[in-house]
């Protein structure tokens, strides 16, 4: 179980989820310089949206066939919450000092958590999420659970789609222009408000996909899951270079692999035997963030945003 391919596979699966969530942070940050602190909660409501679809589907409906519907459900909920947050919470504060939207985001994140906790049936504790039955599949010497295959397929597809969108479509190029210089972009006839909503929507949609992956992997979703996942995903976004969408995915993968390797191997280092294992993985992930900030503050791939002082 402690073999290297297995650890790498675990890390990649985890990292792909971090990467998908990190896209949302990095896109919003790249365009409006706002840490959307509530993004972890948008991920969380996406999971509950997908779960709701599964619950209303008739019994006997196969999970494989249900997954596209669940993704649609999750994406709808996440995008609705994400764009509503943009419209009603962040947009009125555009131009206010930076502290204001950040604190609004904290408030929003608490509200979303509490709303799910209070009103989703039985969500006061973790709620079971459907899982694929069956033995794990062996790929390149690593055992991969059937549910985990989902994220390994979905993450590359999402990245390809996003890359095409950003580079080939008019809206995507408008997004790049807005990220570089919102004022000039506006003068060039780009509807920057629409671009910002779009960034929130894409980020929310990717977070919902990640939430489905999370549910399939862990077999449960909970109202609290957004906090730590959001924090890690932000770490991933910084790791890859905030504002850079490919960096976000790369950062996610690196973070996931590092976390998994730390879980597996740190305990074997002499003198560190008490610091290995799953209990310390968050501590190591976080230490990685500090190290990256110390030695390469612009992130692995470098920031895309010009620093406007």
């Amino acid at each position: 179980m402690n073999e290297l391919p297995q650890q790498l596979a675990n890390g990649l699966i985890l990292g792909a989820m971090y990467g998908l969530i990190a896209i949302g942070y990095t896109m919003v940050y790249g365009i409006v310089q706002l840490i959307n602190f509530a993004h972890g909660e948008i991920f969380m409501v996406g999971g509950f949206g997908a779960l709701t679809v599964w619950m209303v589907l008739p019994d006997g409906f196969g999970l494989g066939a249900a997954i596209p519907l669940m993704i649609i459900g999750g994406v709808l909920v996440s995008v609705a919450v994400g764009t509503a947050a943009e419209r009603f919470a962040y947009r009125p504060l555009r131009g206010a000092p930076r502290l204001a939207p950040l604190i609004t985001a904290i408030g929003l994140s608490i509200v979303l958590q509490q709303a799910v906790w209070m009103w989703f049936p039985d969500a006061k504790k973790d709620v079971p999420f459907p899982r694929f039955q069956g033995d794990p599949v062996e790929i390149l010497g690593a055992n991969i659970q059937r549910g985990d295959i989902f994220v390994l397929i979905a993450a590359p597809l999402c990245m390809i789609a996003l890359g095409l969108f950003v580079n080939k479509t008019r809206s995507g190029r408008g997004m790049q222009a807005t990220a570089q210089d919102p004022d000039t972009a506006k003068l060039m006839g780009i509807n920057t408000d629409r671009i910002i909503v779009m960034a929130f929507a894409i980020g929310a949609a990717f977070a919902a996909v990640a939430a489905v992956a999370y549910g399939l992997k862990n077999g449960q979703v909970g109202f609290r899951m957004g906090f730590l996942m959001g924090l890690k995903a932000f770490t991933a976004a910084v790791l890859g270079g905030i504002g850079n969408i490919y960096g976000a995915m790369l950062g996610g993968l690196v973070l996931g692999v590092a976390e998994s390797l730390a879980t597996g191997y740190i305990g074997e280092i002499p003198g560190m035997d008490l610091f290995g294992g799953g209990a310390w993985k968050d501590v190591w992930a976080f230490s990685l963030l500090i190290l990256v900030l110390l030695f390469r503050p612009q992130g692995l791939l470098g920031e895309r945003v010009a620093d406007r002082a």
């Binding site: 929003l108 509490q114 209070m118 924090l231 620093d307």
Partner: protein, 610 residues
């Protein structure tokens, strides 16, 4: 906001100048409106002496005729205030000092407060006892009186002329406008002993109101208290009394500080119940930590989302050296050494966290501190001997922290001081007060020093500050480490007050303050960069959840909503720093120079380097 409408004097009995547009919301003759207000508030006042309900099942016993109790007292105080403000409008000699600023808006606000609290009381009685039949005539007298007073107050002319740009706003705009008031003129110079006396009286009233709020015994009374306190406070502000008082406090700053602490020392002597004294001690801990956070957030503008972890470091350090049987170290330090240990441990963590992140943009600090807060909790959970070295007993925490004994004075047992029994909590309240004073002094001295001004400069514009020769990184690190150290200081007392430290006390957001989200909210609600702001914010944020247990389930939800609304509508907080107020509301300022058209040929003023 200059208006070039010709102004003429109306028949107002005050010297206030108003325009013909300043018509009241309800068109009533002036004398009738004021008469109605006075009559209404007098009626409401009389009503409180009658029975409001027939049974003492409703808390506070509102059944006695001739002796107001519970919610009736609040209506009584509110209607007395309304009456005073309304009478001051007649220009009665000796009452003029009540309304140096607004004349009529305080009347309206106070009347609304009376209506609010009386209406709430009537609603609560009807709801809890099942129907309006449970109301006795007294309640109706007060209720109708309050309503009449509000109608009358709405008929009074507004204090300020309408904006020239919008002379006839819609109804809601007009109601909002009627609640505004002009700034008071400069006060006459009084002899300084009288001024000091006024300051002392002001703090006396403050202490009384605060102690009353803490010792409200049932949630209906606390809600009523909040309603009347909010309206009454706004009314007093609009009347210009607060401005006058703060002008005095600005003049006698040391006296003010002394009076504030004297009032704070008096607080435990107003409490006989240990439970209420404990609330006081916890508020003080919360407020002190919030003030420490204010150095970091308010002065230096660094967003620290894991501040409670520094409190935790201090508390754990103190607990480990306290001599608790559950401590894994097994040493017992005297209290002063434990305080030093806690403060130094927090300081070290502050530097370790701050040094790598403070060189970067501010947003990174927010997320790193958030991570640190979470990691602290996880680490404390893991150091249990099972998944890590045994230091903190994991999730069980360190229980049975012994009570302190300072100079032979055991803080754990009640003592008789000046004929009043000081309970355990009251002892700790007084000990904590010493630390609060230290933190207030540190905050004040540093804010006014060269360093403090440099912090503000960095907060406003780091690039410009650096260009002026300020070493941004070193000063930010100083602010961050100082903040951490102050939190550690408070943590050492907190460990003793709460008997035990557990990892779950120090999370990002939880129902019980202090946690990082509540601390930040206290600073922002109160007002960033001020001393009194975080103290008031912390008191409110602690009292509201503690007193309104019935809404425990909704508490965090409401907290989140309140945070968002606060940022939307009053981002500068209750006690606004002048600079912050200007920053958040960049239009409509009186002291902003007028926009003059550029002279011909003055082109090329484009934003450089945009």
């Amino acid at each position: 906001m200059t208006t070039d409408i010709p102004m003429d004097k109306t028949t107002d009995d005050t010297t206030k100048v108003s325009t013909p547009e300043a018509t009241p919301i309800i068109p009533l003759p002036h004398a009738a409106a004021r008469g109605l207000t006075v009559a209404g508030s007098a009626l409401a006042l009389i009503g409180t002496f009658l029975a409001w309900t027939w049974t003492d099942e409703f808390p506070g016993n509102l059944t006695v005729t001739g002796y107001p109790g519970g919610l009736q007292v609040l209506t009584l105080v509110g209607s007395a205030l309304t009456l005073l403000f309304a009478l001051a409008g007649y220009g009665i000699r000796g009452l003029g000092w009540l309304t140096p600023g607004g004349k009529n808006s305080p009347v309206l606000l106070a009347a609304l407060g009376v209506l609010g609290v009386t209406g709430y009381a009537m609603g609560a009685i009807a709801q809890e006892l099942g129907g309006l039949v449970n109301l006795e005539p007294g309640a109706w007298v007060s209720g109708i009186g309050a309503l009449v007073a509000v109608v009358g107050a709405l008929g009074l002319p507004v204090d300020q002329p309408y904006d020239a740009g919008d002379p006839d706003p819609h109804l809601w705009g007009r109601v909002r406008h009627a609640l505004t008031a002009p700034e008071p003129r400069r006060a006459k110079d009084l002899p300084s002993w009288l001024e000091i006396l006024i300051i002392a009286a002001g703090f006396g009233v403050g202490l009384y109101v605060f102690a009353y709020g803490i010792s409200t015994e049932y949630s209906e009374l606390f809600i009523g208290f909040l309603i009347i306190a909010a309206f009454g406070f706004t009314a007093v502000t609009r009347a210009g009394l607060l401005k006058r008082l703060s002008a005095l406090t600005a003049k006698h700053r040391n006296v003010t500080l002394g009076a504030a602490f004297a009032a704070a020392i008096c607080f435990p002597f107003t409490q006989t119940n240990d439970q209420f004294a404990l609330i006081g001690a916890n508020i003080l801990i919360f407020a002190t930590v919030a003030l420490g956070l204010n150095v970091v957030v308010g002065l230096a503008g660094l967003l620290d989302l894991g501040y409670v972890a520094f409190l935790g470091v201090g508390a754990y350090a103190a607990a480990l050296v306290s001599g608790s049987p559950a401590s894994t170290i097994g040493v017992t330090f005297p209290f002063w050494a434990a305080v030093l240990t806690g403060a130094v441990a927090s300081l070290i963590f502050g530097v370790v966290i701050g040094a790598p992140t403070l060189r970067l943009r501010g947003d990174y600090l927010a997320i790193v501190t958030l991570g640190f807060g979470e990691i602290f909790r996880i680490t404390m959970n893991n150091l249990n001997g099972n998944s890590g070295p045994d230091v903190t007993n994991g999730s069980n925490g360190i229980p049975q922290i012994p009570d302190l004994e300072i100079l032979g004075f055991n803080l754990g047992v009640p003592h008789d001081v000046l004929g009043h029994e000081l309970t355990r909590s009251a002892n700790y309240y007084l000990l904590m007060l010493v630390f609060t004073i230290i933190v207030v002094m540190v905050f004040r001295r540093s804010a006014e020093s060269r360093i403090g001004r440099a912090w503000v400069a960095i907060r406003e514009d780091e690039t410009a500050a650096t260009a002026m020769g300020i070493n941004g990184f070193r000063l930010k690190l100083l602010a961050f480490a100082l903040g951490a150290c102050l939190a550690g200081l408070a943590g050492t007392v907190q460990a003793h007050v709460s008997y035990s430290v557990t990892p779950e006390q120090y999370q990002f957001a939880g129902p019980v303050p202090p946690n990082s989200a509540f601390l930040l909210a206290a600073v922002i609600l109160g007002g960033m960069g001020t001393i009194s702001g975080p103290l008031i914010g912390a008191a409110l944020l602690y009292l509201i959840p503690a007193k309104l247990q019935f809404m425990a389930e909704y508490q965090l939800l409401l907290f989140g909503i309140a945070l968002m609304l606060l940022m939307r509508f009053r981002p500068e907080g209750l006690v606004a720093d002048r600079r912050k107020q200007l920053e958040f509301h960049e239009t409509g300022q009186l002291d902003v120079p007028e926009d003059k058209p550029l002279p011909e040929g003055a082109t090329g003023v484009a934003k450089a380097g945009a």
